[in-house]
């Protein structure tokens, strides 16, 4: 983990209330897909965590959905502004376990980290399928970007206005055979994926955070391997260690 002052290069709405922000600066401590950064925003006490969506030549991309005052404030920032960020946070996804044909499953604001992951897996010569779930056609983002690198991209929308009607789990048959699963999304989705897939996999979780780097115990969750901090022992947990608060 390092502290870095990142300059906003661009900040644009790419789907309803969803923004892509490109940031420039020292990103050296970002080591893996699935890691996140933690942004200090003027007027807010706590930092805001966002997954790294892409990293190319020190240009870091995040994609965020406006859900509250902090993200609303972010949406008003313009190119040239500088943000104080903690970067290289979290364990990130381990790509060596993926097998030849990993399946990536993302839901809504959980889609972003899968993009950097897909790039890493593809660069290792793997055939990547991505299932990306949204509520409606207007929420869909990065379809083209994923199609540019993945072997196959399946979109699901709850109302059927784009791709398959239904949830990401409704697209599993369509997705065919896969060697491993990487997923990120709302907890209900993770739970459904966990109970439906027939391989091992890695699941990325969200939790309200105090620090983001392991100091405060604010983000702990119980796993079958003991208590873990989502921010530093996670956000990625292995399928085998997950202990759902209520039975899945």
């Amino acid at each position: 983990m390092t502290q870095s002052d990142l300059t906003i290069l661009s900040n644009r709405e790419i789907a309803t209330s969803v923004y892509e922000m490109k940031l420039g600066g020292n990103t050296i401590s970002i080591a893996r897909p699935g890691q996140f950064i933690d942004l200090k925003l003027d007027g807010f006490f706590l930092r805001r965590p966002f997954s790294v969506c892409d990293l190319e030549n020190d240009v870091l991309t995040i994609i965020y959905k406006v859900v509250g005052r902090g993200t609303e404030h972010m949406s008003s920032l313009t190119a040239g502004s500088v943000l104080d960020a903690l970067i290289g946070l979290g364990n990130g996804y381990e790509t060596s376990t993926s097998g030849a044909s990993p399946l990536l499953i993302g839901g809504g604001a959980g889609v972003p980290p899968l993009f950097m992951l897909a790039k890493a897996l593809v660069s290792q010569g793997k055939s990547v399928t991505a299932v990306l779930g949204f509520n409606t056609a207007e929420d869909v983002f990065y379809k083209g970007e994923f199609e540019g690198i993945c072997s196959r991209v399946i979109i699901t929308t709850a109302d059927g206005s784009c791709g398959i009607r239904g949830l990401v789990t409704d697209a599993l048959t369509e997705a065919g055979d896969y060697s491993y699963v990487y997923t990120c999304g709302p907890e209900q989705m993770l739970k459904a994926v966990w109970s439906k897939i027939n391989t091992s996999g890695q699941f990325s979780f969200e939790e309200r955070m105090g620090c983001g780097f392991g100091a405060c115990m604010g983000c702990s969750c119980e796993t079958l391997c003991g208590a873990k901090r989502i921010c530093s022992d996670g956000p990625v947990l292995y399928k085998e260690e997950i202990k759902w608060p209520t039975p899945a």
Partner: protein
């Protein structure tokens, strides 16, 4: 040269800056970020007899200029602290550390203190008396002068290390409680712990924290903390570790003028992990600005 040293219960600190319990783990997460030997000392995570997971999540909420936490004393238990955490800390921190301990009965406090009394790395024992007293009906030990004195007195008998009692601010008469801890044998008072607060999730129509209430910390509480340090300074003769909302070098000076010998920094570490190092580095220049050559000279200077 600006002299930043202060003396806390006979042990001289290079400077008064002390990361507060619960915001600095057992130290080595921060040791990866900077050399933590620059600190006066630090207070490690509140430790209990048995390992605790703490409360269900969400445990954290944001508030104007502050935050709520309801971590609920997650810690590996005193045995693991001694066998695992302290040896790891020894590799990166070469000064005496403050052992922050919590119990749900007087016996538990006594038990942990007796064990930690034998650890050479432990310079001071800090009793967090803001825990619910399960045997006394659930109210915290720290909310009446009597219960605070009882736990202080009991622990006093099992340790020769300097004994710090850390008080809860959720009381009407902080000075009375501090005084009764002093009488019961406390060597220092540390204050304030968090103010009890709440946030509500409007969409869900329920408290945002799974635990419903949480402890308010951060800049918002600075004026309350400062007032309590000022009041306690007039009531006791033992030194005070002042904390609550400190987030900059001038805040450290205000706390000391109010009566603090050393100054704890909590939540600010979570938002800016380098803040204690940065404050320590800026102390000499800030002292110059206000014509202070020996920092210890200003303790209680506003009285």
């Amino acid at each position: 040269m600006a002299d930043t040293r202060v003396t806390l219960c006979g042990i001289t600190l290079d400077n008064p800056v002390i990361p507060a319990s619960g915001t600095f783990g057992y130290g080595y997460e921060f040791a990866k970020l900077y050399d933590i030997n620059c600190l006066g000392t630090f207070s490690f995570k509140g430790t209990t007899v048995l390992p605790r997971f703490g409360n269900p999540t969400p445990r954290i909420a944001e508030t104007p200029s502050g935050m709520l936490n309801a971590v609920g004393l997650q810690n590996p238990g005193v045995d693991a602290v001694i066998s695992y955490e302290l040896p790891r800390l020894k590799e990166v921190f070469f000064k005496p550390v403050i052992a922050n301990i919590s119990g749900f009965s007087i016996d538990e406090y006594v038990q942990i203190a007796a064990v930690l009394d034998k650890e050479v790395q432990v310079g001071w024992i800090e009793l967090n008396v803001s825990c619910p007293n399960v045997h006394g009906g659930g109210a915290a030990f720290g909310t009446t002068p009597d219960s605070a004195a009882r736990v202080t007195g009991a622990v006093r008998r099992v340790t020769k290390k300097p004994l710090i009692v850390k008080l809860s601010p959720n009381v009407a008469d902080i000075a009375g409680i501090a005084k009764s801890c002093e009488c019961a044998g406390a060597d220092a008072i540390s204050l304030i712990n968090t103010l009890l607060g709440m946030r509500i999730d409007i969409k869900k129509r329920s408290p945002l924290l799974a635990n419903k209430t949480g402890g308010l910390s951060g800049r918002a509480i600075f004026p309350v903390a400062l007032r309590m340090v000022y009041q306690v300074y007039e009531a006791v003769r033992i030194p005070i570790i002042g904390m609550g909302g400190v987030a900059g070098t001038e805040d450290v000076l205000e706390m000391m003028l109010a009566g603090a010998t050393a100054v704890g920094i909590g939540s600010a570490n979570l938002v800016d992990p380098f803040i204690c190092r940065d404050i320590i580095n800026s102390l000499p220049a800030e002292m110059d600005k206000y014509g202070i050559s020996r920092l210890s000279d200003i303790i209680g200077g506003a009285h």
